[in-house]
Symmetry: C2
Subunit: 162 residues, 2 copies
Amino acid sequence: MEQKYMELAIRAAEEAAQADEVPVGAVLVRDGEVLSIAANRKERDNCALSHAEMLAIGEGCRKVGNWYLDDCDLYVTLEPCPMCAGGIINSRLRAVYFGAYDPKSGALGSVYDLVGEGKLNHRMTVEGGIRQEECGKLLSDFFAAKRAEIKQAKADKEKGLC
Amino acid sequence: MEQKYMELAIRAAEEAAQADEVPVGAVLVRDGEVLSIAANRKERDNCALSHAEMLAIGEGCRKVGNWYLDDCDLYVTLEPCPMCAGGIINSRLRAVYFGAYDPKSGALGSVYDLVGEGKLNHRMTVEGGIRQEECGKLLSDFFAAKRAEIKQAKADKEKGLC
């Protein structure tokens, strides 16, 4: 695990927040080379498959020209959901290092543990909780700002109706 | 559930087999309109994310211009893996109808039951085993042919070495 790659993932997440996306960033690395840096693009792409991890893996496959990424490591700011954990397993990644745990949809320890339970045919390194406060704060700040926006919009609407 | 959509999915799977891909096909439907038909393209795309379900959902999102597909149903010849089941849940599909069960990686009843267990925040209709013999035979025929190819290649090699 190298901190500098998580740093890049955090920067990608920050850029996602600025684009009004839930801030999650991911970086795919092979032998010290960054293959791809991606952020969540669900709203921009109008597609719920456009999570940071999936985009990073997809771009990595295009660069490597192979679906089999067993010498690649993924760094991501949030614990992957079942879709992304499944994509990580399908791509045979060597390791995944993530930031904040996700008690609602996390599939590498929180809600499910798709690798650790050993029911699927792939073993890999999984390490969570890396810079988790910082990664989690990006998300909680984003959602707090969203709630404030909604509250303000409601208040403005009510004023208009009075 | 309408048989005609599973028929289209089976045809897509057959085309995949002809292209030397593990034969799985998927069809996304909204209000009687076929939004997308896709087959597994993992080898052609050099990408383990290119499962039929993911490609069908991705194309559906592009057509609809929305990630939220709660009025859409997916028909697929094989029980979705965790990645695809996760993508189905993330996209909030209304229903998924699948053919053969997958005892190795199925995530809608076999290895996991990501919808039925109720741990994730989405409820939907799931029905498996539709034309399962036919869907399963496509896969077993494909793998039998692959094994025969490998055996023949070995035999040819040994002959050459004698």
